[in-house]
Subunit: 448 residues, 2 copies
Amino acid sequence: MKQYIEKNRERFLEELFSLLRIPSVSSLEEHRPDMKRCADRLVELLLEAGADTAEVYPTDGHPVVFAQKTVDPSLRTVLVYGHYDVQPVDPLELWKSDPFEPEIRDGAIYARGANDDKGQLFMHLKAFEYMVRETGLKHNVKFIFEGEEEIGSPSLAAWAREHRDLLKADIILVSDTTMISESVPSINCGMRGLSYVEVKVTGPDKDLHSGHYGGAVANPVNILCDMISSLIDKDGHITVKGFYDDVVELSDEDRAKLARAPFDLEEYKEFLGIRDVKGEKGYTTLERTGIRPCLDVNGIWGGYTGEGAKTVLPSEAHAKISMRLVPNQDSETITRLFMDHFRAIAPDCVKVDVTPCHGGNGFLIPISSDAYQAASKAMTDVYGIEPVPSRGGGSIPVLADLQRILGIDPLLMGFGLERDTIHSPNESYLLSQLFRGMEAIALFYRYY
Amino acid sequence: MKQYIEKNRERFLEELFSLLRIPSVSSLEEHRPDMKRCADRLVELLLEAGADTAEVYPTDGHPVVFAQKTVDPSLRTVLVYGHYDVQPVDPLELWKSDPFEPEIRDGAIYARGANDDKGQLFMHLKAFEYMVRETGLKHNVKFIFEGEEEIGSPSLAAWAREHRDLLKADIILVSDTTMISESVPSINCGMRGLSYVEVKVTGPDKDLHSGHYGGAVANPVNILCDMISSLIDKDGHITVKGFYDDVVELSDEDRAKLARAPFDLEEYKEFLGIRDVKGEKGYTTLERTGIRPCLDVNGIWGGYTGEGAKTVLPSEAHAKISMRLVPNQDSETITRLFMDHFRAIAPDCVKVDVTPCHGGNGFLIPISSDAYQAASKAMTDVYGIEPVPSRGGGSIPVLADLQRILGIDPLLMGFGLERDTIHSPNESYLLSQLFRGMEAIALFYRYY
């Protein structure tokens, strides 16, 4: 497929850019029309690439795009999953170029969604087009692209249940993750789940003068800090009651396998600009993000945050808190445990509200499966090295749902790299990874 | 003076409203022209009220207004201090009427500055006018109104040192505080000092995907919460090293005197909408705000605070933290102790910056002084009850500076009430307090 890429390179980029230029931020109401525009553009691209049918399906939230090409019902069917929604772009001032006007610098595309997941889903479109036009497709292929991955896929599970027959396939193929490095390809064989909640602590029913009341009236910001601080003990364990009940401890052998993945702690720290890492006692950095759950504050706000010094004792304090879960932990159970725990530790002097935001379960795929083996061979061909089976720290909760609803395993061939800083300013995707990803995907079909 | 008020009531209100309509928010750069407008308007009002001279003095910050009327150099001289700057108005959506378009509802003026301090300084203008026009002034009177009280009076101390001769007086008279209640008048004989800092905790040098890094990389919001939580122990003591070194413990006798002030804990809790108070172990609520120092977070922010659920491990977390100090604690010393402590408790996995914002020392005035006694008699005449000597929880750091620079005690005859919710949305000032304040001030001059 190398030659095909070379011949069509400019067209490929222009098509991808047409997707990146659409600000399809699913979490912001103002971008609702952009979501529809992006779905429509995907339909055009799918039909041009060779799909028999491609349609936009409305949902209660943002639309689902579904397309398929049937070659022969007796052949294997691959269901490609991707998402066309992106994260918000703030803080905007840290972007070196417009997040929605893609720019190529130093061999990488810079734009929101360049990697996650417009860039990665685009590789599947072009590998598909190549097979249709040049080699003859030997599989039936279906595409499902959703617009709500970044907000927890509230509509897709219901949609999938309704369209179970339409979605019948042998494997769910996904590119929405990273590999360890360009020189160490890897395949994700497991992802963490997620529980995400928003909490509000209310003290007095109005903002107060901190001089008149300070010292006598509980400050909700101080209380929120106390409560958050108490959620993780000094060994890095999460203190939510029952949190670890379903966590499976890996065997020493499994831990040894994972430890074979090359990892340079000094490089890692340098890349992040930190002097030291921090995490659960008794686990390595890779284990902390791969096989162990964790708890993070994703956002906090309360009181006066403007210029200057306002002496206010605020009425409210807020935080967004998320927990990453390992396979076997159930997201709904953990969310409930968190809510009970957080309410239980609230002192009498404040009122506490906890709202579940979104979540999903983690999952694992067997290394011995045909699909994993085909992906492994394809990546070996492209990178010249056998990929490492790895465990992803992130969450694609909807994949656990699809696995459960459709009874199909997901296979995660991700071509992102750490340097891409997805979800952050200056998200990027290396052109070399974009094109090698296309090759590897085409080869996957050859071996599967 | 009652009759004079009745006769001039409408004009008085119109004059006060003309001040309240000017959005003189000292902390926001955009309001710089409003500061000058407000100073100019005060000069007009001072001259109309009978001052010999009134002038706007530029400073490095917002201008100082100084006015005087000399009757006879051998008479006592009263220096009236006030401030014409106000706090920011956010959260604006909680205001029931425009903060800069005063409105009278249920016998109170609603506007930013209605009490703090435009309403209260205005009482001095009108008591002065009354004496000049109706009874003959038996004192020399000077007025100093600054525009930087809400941002820590960065310019006034230097200005006062330069104009020490101009400011010569026997007493500094100030209305910028509250009394216990309408039925329990009180005079502030001490105020707390202030140390206000802004802190920044930096983890990774960019925002990260919380799935990929969560559990292995220190989250600066979680760390900031840990650090803030550690600043106060479970007994409500501040843990900053050396913090209590200069705090004078009150004698049991002094504590008993303070305890005579009527105080209904249930009413207090109901007014604030809280189920319980919280503070330093071993002290009452009035002691906690009057004679004990405290530490409050005035604002906190970090990570994603918008709509929806962004799974980010943020690069930075910020907080504004202030400490109220009791007399004998030195603001600069405490700020230094805090900075040293906060840096010392920062774990290696983050970087911490602490910036001092503003501060000032607390002070005390003797109850036996002529001025206190005159104020006490004046308030007894107006309210029919002898006022309680109280200790204010708030801070007017500049008064401690003026006391030191000029060698004159400040006397705090404040007519605000808790219900006025200064610094908060819907700041108000009761008309009854506005007019009784004028009377009491005029009577003060009679007894002093």
